[in-house]
């Protein structure tokens, strides 16, 4: 459905995407994760024909068509849907939802009756209350606007739907609702979805996740596979320690099988180590022997959030060690 090979994007001297490659199959939900400036939006802009060919190289295919050719743009845009981060950019607030639908469906050449039927179907799936269908969009709640925006993105039954930060600006409690709606739509319509997001919870509904940093694709796999690639298949020990400080963490780090310690609170750390089951009792013993007061301890499987944190940290450490090598060579 979407094929990206060796994508490089440059704006003048600025190289914003480096050699990115990935393939997405029909019906998959892909999460593009990364901190700001990672290149997530730029990649999506290439896929949605928003960046001129002079700025990028590589082989890109969207629904079997290359955005390289301008003549393909109209067809690609007919095959894709887009839900921007801000509803203000997607909806005419002065008009009602049904008229908004009409405005967008007319651009795809859909007839009024079909558009209305599709809209009603989508509105029902997305629980957009019937009494708001004929009211101005500006009178709808934030969540309703978000869902309407999603409905408009899907109104022409696109093969691929791009969603830019769909959970940003939504209450914590509503975030999961949005994600479950997306999953529901994906299952019902079998639409391939690209979610650009900072919200790591979105990985819950993603079939595959892409982690980007500074325009480089660090990982592209299922979140389970990525977590399993951690030492001891992602098993994590969580300790609450009295008077925890950096010196103490550095001391614990000296324990031989420890691979990584992450500070997760004022007095809490999470520990990743080799041969978890075998080494955990030894670690506790090591800490007790050295007068470290453990207030509580639990073990769990790492979340995607933790994986992401570890992976980015690792990348940063590698980058800084590379810089050090360069300085020494000089």
């Amino acid at each position: 459905m979407v094929d990206v090979n060796n994508l490089n994007v440059k704006f003048g001297e600025k190289h914003v995407v480096h050699d990115v490659s990935f393939t997405v199959d029909k019906g998959e939900i892909i999460g593009l994760f990364g901190i700001s400036g990672a290149g997530k939006t730029t990649i999506v802009r290439v896929l949605t024909c928003q960046i001129e060919k002079k700025h990028w190289t590589g082989n890109v295919m969207v629904t079997g068509l290359s955005p390289e050719k301008k003549s393909n743009h109209s067809k690609i845009l007919s095959n894709i849907g887009y839900v921007p981060q801000l509803e203000l950019l997607n909806l005419y607030f002065e008009l009602d939802p049904m008229v908004n639908v009409e405005v967008f469906t007319s651009t795809y050449g859909m007839n009024k009756k079909r558009a209305k039927e599709t809209a009603e179907e989508l509105f029902k799936i997305l629980d957009i209350p019937r009494d708001t269908w004929k009211k101005r969009v500006e009178k709808m709640s934030g969540g309703e606007k978000k869902r309407l925006s999603m409905a408009i993105g899907l109104i022409h039954n696109p093969d691929v739907l791009f969603l830019d930060e769909p959970t940003t600006g939504v209450d914590a409690s509503k975030r999961y609702d949005i994600l479950s709606y997306l999953k529901k739509l994906n299952q019902k319509l079998n639409t391939t979805m690209f979610i650009i997001t900072h919200d790591l919870e979105s990985a819950l509904i993603c079939d595959k996740v892409a982690i980007l940093k500074d325009g480089r694709l660090l990982e592209f796999d299922t979140s389970q596979n990525l977590i399993s690639s951690l030492p001891s298949e992602g098993l994590i020990a969580r300790f609450t320690i009295e008077d925890l400080n950096e010196k103490l963490i550095a001391f614990i780090k000296k324990f031989p099988s420890i691979r990584r310690i992450i500070r997760v609170g004022n007095e809490a750390i999470e520990v990743l180590m080799e041969n978890f089951e075998e080494n955990l009792p030894k670690l506790i013993e090591y800490m007790v022997d050295n007068n470290i007061t453990i207030t509580s301890m639990s073990k769990d499987i790492a979340t995607f959030r933790r994986y992401f944190q570890i992976r980015i940290q690792k990348e940063e450490e590698e980058e800084s060690s590379l810089k050090e090598v360069k300085v020494i060579r000089k």
Partner: protein, 439 residues
């Protein structure tokens, strides 16, 4: 002697044959070329259906524009209802009928009197022959309202009192008859009347002078006086009887300002305030279709606005020396130039504030340099160039020509309005095509 070796003349038929065979494929390609432009009906049908979809898309975009306009009813009201209302207001206020003209309040001071000692040994003054007849003439004139008459010989502070009345706004004119007013008239010389006008409001000056002139006319007629000189005026392009002169002369200015200004103010935000354009561009709709739909919508609004203006103008007594069609086209062209300028401003403004500020600057410059307040010929050369580029300086003479002189629309002013509108349409399309939109 060296002998020239003669090469035996042999015909290489094989080579010749080859050459001929080489030509053959050329015939083939030529044949192909000729046979190529076979009518590709499928392609034509596809093209036609594409056109149909595009036309439909544009139509739907036009409907969207109307719906957006309808949501901002105040704006629509501004465009459609206000201009004809202003014309009606002008019609009601600017009439020439004497009964409807408010007379100018004035005070008259006479210094024209004989002072003598009466038998009781008191100083007495007696007004001269022609003072009271002039007072009567002023009273007779419907254009003047005599608030008070002073005999200056008896009331030495008459002028001071009259000036105070002028300052307070109680009167607009002070008329003063000099000491030798009667003597001069009796000797057959021009009798002078001093006239002090309130010039703080420019619109009263002409009206005041006309009123004074009216009183003099009555005075001369009633007293069988022969004026020393006769002013003979010939008037061209006069408004026929039954039509209001004031209304017809002021409507020209009002029409061009209104049509241009409202088309401009309506269109300055059409692009800059429509945020979902960025998202619309991620559908198969083209930028040119979006802009074209805006032009179509606002042109239709303009046609409605111009129609209502013409209807309201005619109903209030607008006299058109030229043809109604020419007036309609001229008004449409002035409005269209405002519309194109507004879309141009909108297409290159980044924010609403920027568009509003640009509108103000453009409109003020267009009005100031329109030639209505200051003749363009009196401006410095560089300002004249700017003035002639701007549409309003062509709109006013175009309308005056049609309404007052019966000229045809065809001429330099119309052509310039057409040219500037086309240029602005092209520029706005180019800018809109290059405008950066990101979602």
């Amino acid at each position: 002697m060296a002998k020239l070796k003669k090469k035996p003349l042999t015909l290489n038929f094989k080579k010749f044959k080859d050459k001929i065979s080489k030509i053959k494929p050329n015939f083939e390609t030529l044949k192909n070329k000729i046979s190529k432009p076979k009518p590709n009906f499928k392609k034509y049908i596809k093209n036609i259906s594409n056109l149909k979809i595009n036309a439909l898309r544009i139509l739907k975009q036009v409907i969207k524009e109307f719906r957006l306009l309808w949501t901002d009813k105040f704006n629509l009201l501004l465009a459609i209802v206000i201009p004809p209302l202003i014309i009606v207001m002008l019609g009601l206020t600017m009439t020439d009928a004497p009964s409807e003209t408010q007379s100018i309040p004035c005070m008259l001071i006479s210094y024209d009197s004989n002072t003598f000692i009466n038998p009781n040994n008191f100083t007495e003054s007696k007004l001269d022959n022609y003072t009271m007849p002039y007072v009567e003439a002023v009273n007779k004139s419907s254009m003047l309202e005599l608030v008070r008459f002073y005999n200056a010989t008896e009331e030495i502070y008459a002028m001071e009192a009259a000036r105070n009345a002028l300052i307070s706004g109680e009167i607009k004119v002070i008329l003063s008859l000099p000491v030798d007013f009667t003597e001069l008239l009796e000797w057959g010389l021009p009798g002078l009347i001093d006239c002090v006008l309130d010039a703080s409001n420019i619109q009263y000056i002409q009206q005041s002078l006309n009123s004074v002139y009216d009183s003099i006319k009555i005075f001369v007629n009633d007293n069988n006086l022969t004026p020393q000189f006769q002013l003979q005026g010939f008037e061209e392009f006069t408004i026929p009887e039954g039509y209001s002169n004031n209304f017809n002369s002021s409507i020209v200015m009002a029409l061009s300002f209104m049509v241009f200004g409202i088309a401009l103010v309506l269109s300055i935000l059409v692009i800059v305030q429509e945020k979902p354009i960025a998202r619309l561009l991620l559908t198969p709709v083209k930028r040119s279709e979006i802009l074209l739909s805006k032009y179509i919508t606002y042109t239709l609004v303009l046609v409605l606005q111009v129609s209502l203006l013409v209807i309201s103008g005619l109903s209030m007594g607008l006299y058109i020396a030229g043809t109604l069609t020419d007036l309609f086209i001229a008004l449409f062209m002035i409005g269209f130039s405002g519309l194109t300028m507004g879309v141009f401003i909108s297409s290159q403004s980044k924010t609403k504030t920027q568009a509003n500020q640009l509108f103000l600057a453009v409109f003020l410059v267009a009005v100031l340099l329109s030639g209505i307040f200051i003749p363009i010929e009196n401006m410095p050369l560089y300002l004249q160039v700017i003035a002639y580029i701007l549409p309003l300086s062509h709109g006013d003479p175009l309308l005056r020509g049609i309404i007052q002189k019966g000229q045809s629309i065809l001429g330099l002013h119309f052509i310039w309005l057409l040219v500037i509108s086309i240029v602005l349409v092209i520029i706005s399309f180019v800018i809109f095509k290059r405008r950066k939109y990101e979602v």
